[in-house]
Amino acid sequence: MRTTQVPRLRTIALPMGIALALLGTPAFSFEEAPMLAERVAAGTLPNVDERLPKTPRVVTPYDEIGVYGGTWRRAFTGASDDRGPQKLMEPRIVRFVQTGPETFDIEPAWASSYETNETSTEFTFHIREGLKWSDGHPVTTEDVMFYFEDVVGDDNPWPWPSLMEQGDSRAVISAADDLTFTVTFEQPSPLFITRLGREYVWMASPKHYLSQFHPSYVSTDELAAAASAFNVEGWQDLWGRRGKAQSFWLNPDVPTLSAWTVKTPPPSEQVIFERNPYYYAVDTEGNQLPYIDQISHDLFQDVETLNLWVAQGRIDLQQRHMRVGNFPFFKENESSGSYEVVVWNGLEVDTLWPNQTTSDTVMAELFQQADFREALNVAIDRDTINEIVFAGLATPMQAGPPKGSAIFNEELVGKWAGYDVDRANELLDGLGLTARDDDGFRLRPDGDTLEIVITTALFASDINMLELINEFWSDVGIKTSLDVVERTLYLDRVNANEIMMGHWPMGRAAFFLIDAGSYAATLMDNSWANAWGEYQLDRGKSFAVAPPKDHMIYDVWSTLDAALTAGTQEEAIALGADILAMHAKAPNWVGVVGAAPNLFIRSNRMGNFPAGFIRDDITRDIGIIPTEQLYIKK
């Protein structure tokens, strides 16, 4: 039963269905936050009814109608941590929403609705009538056309987004009137809407504000003046993700469509966001959202500092930078810090990637043997790793989209995930790897010791896990050595095909077709065949080489192409399932454990935050819930 906290608001509980009823005609006048009411009374802000669009987005709070006010306290690590705050308030035209324990969907956000034609080539969007930027200026298709004509593209400040391409041609965007525009592709783009919920493409830019920094609209002198006003070298530095004028978190003046806008930007020790008075959503009782007045982010250097802040109750709601390994510490201090550890389900799987095209040709040939890869898999005791490294909280599994993903293959995630030393030895002996060196390690066909070098980046790895794997593989006569490098160096090596076996989680599994590189060997961070992947990408790398004839990877590539240009999303999903089935025949990698819990620290004063959702980059992490309906209890 939902109840309200504040008598001022109507105390009658509302059924879920009213949300839909409200979409048509608002039944009553809207309520607003006290801090905004003051400004309205002072005459510096229009009435709430004038600020909201005609049909606001109606958000159903998870537990109860909230109360206005308060500051949501979080922490951040510096200038490069902008995705943390960004994911709380992405100004999306469509958004992911969780619809059940393991299902999610996409719904319009600042668009009131959208239509897709039957062949998935035409997408028509309707902007909410009366929608306004955070400075009160109306949002129209002018802003959409400005984004595609002047902001992104070859001669514009930011490159054309890959989302707006299909095959070799770019989408055409056309505006029918002030509020309606259409995106047209030459080829079918069945995943366009889903990708739109995930890619960093906002579909509109505030023309009335940003055009003053654009060479098509103002003179060179004015651009130079703007650059020096922002303290940057040239007007180009005003644009882009970290552009001083365009960035949502560097420029307090840039109009946005987010629930909060930045008030104190970095490089400040404390970055503060404040509510957008024109935000387009209301709750089921007509209270304008967000409930929370401010979000503050304190800068921390070392994660131990953050842990201490958690224990002291200085964090209201945060998952970013919270490590699963600290679970016992977080639980222990729940009462003293007056918070609760709320668990969401992660979809990543810790995975080792044997590079079937490694420059060591003997190892490459071994890795290409399905029997060898199976031996590597079944020689690992995943339960022990889960107990020791993940406090038993994760799931021992093969790498693939875990349960809860849109496309799921039970066979793949269970395949070769058991522990069977005898089977591993039998397979290795069967490959003729019977000779041993003085230390008992097997010899390769060329007489050297069979040694696998695992390269891992500090950022991703849990060294304990790799050391355990080292022991398990030693038990079957395979020597391993660890090469722990910095993240940048890892990328350098990957790009030069200098890695024999990489270690990197397989992620973005909620809807794997959106980012299917792991399956096509084209995502270099976790590629099971770098040289083949480069061949497919055709970026002119010298080590790129065509896979052997009839290799299954050709089927993966062609099926993936077919999926990405299928007529409908359902067809695409069916083809995606085929790709998973191909990998289920013979896993090309060594998945270890996955679906580990993701820990949210949620202070006891934070209301309307659900437990047990999926957390994935595809579904925008915490952004899968409407953060605007979170509230601070009085």
Partner: protein, 329 residues
Amino acid sequence: MTGYIVRRILWFIPTLLAVSLVSFAIIQLPPGDYLTVLESQMGAEGDYNPEVVARLRERFGFDQPFMVQYGKWMWAMLAHGDLGYSFEWRVPVSSLIGEYLALTVIVTAATLIATWLIALPIGIYSAVRPYSIFDYIATILGFIGKATPNFLLALVLMWWAFDTFGADVSGLFSPEYANAPWSWAKVRDLIAHMWLPLIVLGTSGAASLIRQMRANVLDELQKPYVEAARAQGLPEWKVILRYPVRVALNPFLSTIGSSIPELFSGAVTTAIVLNLPMAGPMLLRALVSQDMYLAGSFIFLLSVFTLIGTLISDILLTLVDPRIRFEES
């Protein structure tokens, strides 16, 4: 004396140029550059767009040879006092590091002064009363202080403060003052937060100072001129303070120059652990993200401080020790 100081200052110029060249080269030694770091961040976020990186590479001049990049940086610094541009924060370096450097200088200077105020009297007393109970206690504490790594002490003290008082002792300001403009209340808040960094940073320094001071004074006390002074009937405190202590101070004064970078670098780990808004953590972050002008400027300014520190210690030496004289020729 004036001529000496002027000559010393003129020598700064070639030294600084050499230091800047070396530091700029060292910053560029690791593989990759800021854009490779950016690429890896974008890759981790599933937002990799090679064209963005290519455009930035051209924009920031990363495709130019090393000497050109260095020349541009130096020229901007000499001609316009412009320290360059921080890629990561997207602001000029000069606007970024001002407050961090100021806080670093305040904390470092306060630590240095506190260290001396604690260490010198204890060292002298230990020397005058060697092998007394007090000397033993000072010695034990000194060895413990010297042997404990700063960051560990910081962690232990933080945990102790949290566990005992439930207090947050990290940072230099309370959250409500972090963004506030400077005021007396903010200064008071700073002082209230300063004791922990002072203890942590000062402990090992004070410990070694005590040991050195004790040894130096002990050496001097054996010398005949001390006997002579006593024989002349001078009071004991005057004998000790006027002669042996003055001589014993020489080694300290000559190390002012080098103790500045020592404190600065010792403060890096401590500042990270204690979450202090000081230069050290920012330098480390700049190095990790290969934000080269920011890192280069920090190292450059650090060298300037070191040189100034050396000059100060040389001047102080001549003032304290009349045996040191300059040949004016």
